[in-house]
């Protein structure tokens, strides 16, 4: 059995997660020692310079990277199950860009009218964008049989949404435009504690609901006909899958902007290590894998060219895209 591999994967991911959290905490434009960090964490020091860095900047950012990274990976896995294609993901299918467009509209509107957007409003805006693009992709998938054509269409839809977003950002004149621009490139830097109080429950509930769908997901991996024959209500199931996946990717986009390739690379790496695609194993492991992936990428994005910070998406692309390419080549070879 591959139980050993699964156990190994859990252990490895657990250790990596811990190490990366610590590294993210200590490293940055101003480094600190483990002793400093411990003292600050246990004394609830939120006023000294280091205290403010830990509590106001690094902690929310680490939590955001871990939660949103996990959400992205699970969202990708759900889409892959839905389309029975391992290259499907929220970014490549243009779903993230759709979310980005609607959030940008909402932000520009709010900025010009001097309104503060609540985190929930941001998620809802992103969710509307995700669903709109998903609807377009589903329409296309009804017309084209080939998965690769569908993926190309998704990339195109993504470009269109990004272009429109760029327009908006270019012509919206406001002092906050720099923030908006950073966000639209993808970054965990703007996530606040107030955001996290919304992100954490939304992500937790959605991932748990996805986990509860493991059993029918397992059946549909053997084909839709088979799933029907063992009593899966296919329409309800598919709707649920798309909704959950959209909520997850919408939450990510609302707070961190579009982040590329995590949704494909993390599930693929996990699948290769555990040697199984059983959803009951995949969903929790994908979540952990996505967290680790994003924490690593964020660590590098912050520190590689410090004090200049790179966008998280370019970092995830550097690591994620080769994984996807290797996967494509591997599939062709078979």
């Amino acid at each position: 059995m591959n139980n050993k591999r699964i156990a190994f994967c859990y252990t490895a991911l657990g250790i990596l997660l811990l190490v990366l959290i610590i590294m993210n905490m200590l490293m940055g434009s101003s480094s600190m020692t483990a002793g400093d960090a411990f003292r600050i964490l246990f004394s609830h020091d939120t006023v000294s310079r280091y205290g403010r860095i830990v509590w106001d900047i690094r902690m929310p950012r680490i939590i955001a990277a871990a939660l949103l990274g996990g959400a992205l990976a699970v969202s990708g896995f759900l889409l892959q199950t839905f389309f029975s294609n391992p290259i499907a993901g929220p970014y490549i299918l243009g779903i993230s860009s759709g979310a980005k467009l609607v959030v940008a509209c909402a932000m520009v509107y709010a900025l010009t009218h001097g309104i503060m957007l609540h985190s929930f409003v941001m998620i809802i805006a992103a969710f509307i964008g995700s669903l709109a693009v998903t609807a377009v992709i589903l329409l296309i998938s009804g017309k084209v049989r080939s998965m690769s054509v569908l993926i190309v269409c998704g990339v195109m839809v993504g470009y269109i949404c990004s272009a429109v977003t760029e327009f908006l950002i270019t012509f919206a004149d406001d002092s906050n435009i720099v923030n908006l621009h950073n966000w639209s490139m993808g970054s965990f830097s703007a996530v606040s504690w107030e955001n996290i109080r919304v992100i954490a429950p939304v992500v937790a509930i959605t991932v748990i609901l996805s986990f509860l769908l493991s059993k029918p997901m397992n059946a549909i991996q053997m084909g839709e006909h088979y799933a029907v024959s063992v009593g899966v209500n296919i329409r309800a199931f598919r709707t649920g899958l798309i909704m959950l996946s959209s909520i997850l990717s919408a939450t990510v986009t609302a707070f961190a902007g579009p982040i590329s390739f995590v949704g494909i690379a993390a599930p693929h790496l996990i699948r290769s290590i555990t040697d199984t695609s059983r959803p009951i194993v995949m969903i929790p492991q994908c979540f952990l894998g996505g967290s680790v992936f994003c924490l690593l990428c964020d660590l590098l994005a912050r520190n590689l060219f410090a004090p200049t910070e790179m966008s998280i998406s370019s970092m995830t692309a550097v690591f994620g895209a080769p994984v996807v390419i290797a996967m494509l080549i591997g599939r062709k070879a078979r």
């Binding site: 493991s214 024959s229 899966v232």
Partner: protein, 286 residues
Amino acid sequence: MKSDEIRRGSTGSGGSKEVIRTESLDSGYGRKVIVAGAELSVMPGEIAVLIGPNGAGKSTVLKTIAGQLETIAGTVFIGGRDRTEYASADIAKKQAVMLTERQPAEKMSCMEVVSLGRYPYTGRFGILSREDRRIVRETMELVHISELAERDYDQISDGQRQRVLLARAICQEPEIMLLDEPTSYLDIRHKLEFLDLLRDLARHRGIAVIMSMHELELAHLTADSVICISAAGRVEKAGPPEEVFTDELISRLYGLEDGRLRQVYSGFAESIGKMTDNIGKKTESR
């Protein structure tokens, strides 16, 4: 079950105990009828084979009986009850399907695929009980695929794959099995082995089997009853093989020229006959 018997009696089907029956069944896609007015009935332990030209609608009929397609008109009775009266989870315990769907399952071991047959019996998370695991193991032994347990389903041969899928269907402990051209991709030895297995299953477990097939000679060998579906989408004839396999009927069903069928099969039989004669002579001369 008892109330079913009564209801079955009232449908006036002559008191038979068929496990599956269709009544003036129109099947097809959307509203487009492909096979009209099909009347079939299969007893427990019986193998019914659907034959007919490409595109006649053999798969369509199978999919409709399986519930993959909605019936356009008419009724499918399972155990004497209208199919639509069952909850889909209950049907899954009565009916297993093996349809041609060559979807590669990524990173699934053969054992995982077979285990999926227990789907209707497992709980919320689909975790196998000890009993489920015993059934999976025994079924894999039964169809001789125990050694494939840990192999990737993607990387086994067509013959092995059909056995894995058969094992999955058996694990579902069905009363009815529906198979769509299960032997098409197999060589002659694997075809025969597969059909022998199916034969045994039907006999020993009393499973009613409906399958479509292109190989007439194998249909002749395996079937208890043969159902001919014509290019026009009608059940042309249904009956025991010796009644169905006549030169005239088969030639008409497939639109063959006069004498063509005879030429193919008697020519082949003659060669095979010579082959066996030659082997006989060689062994004699030794």
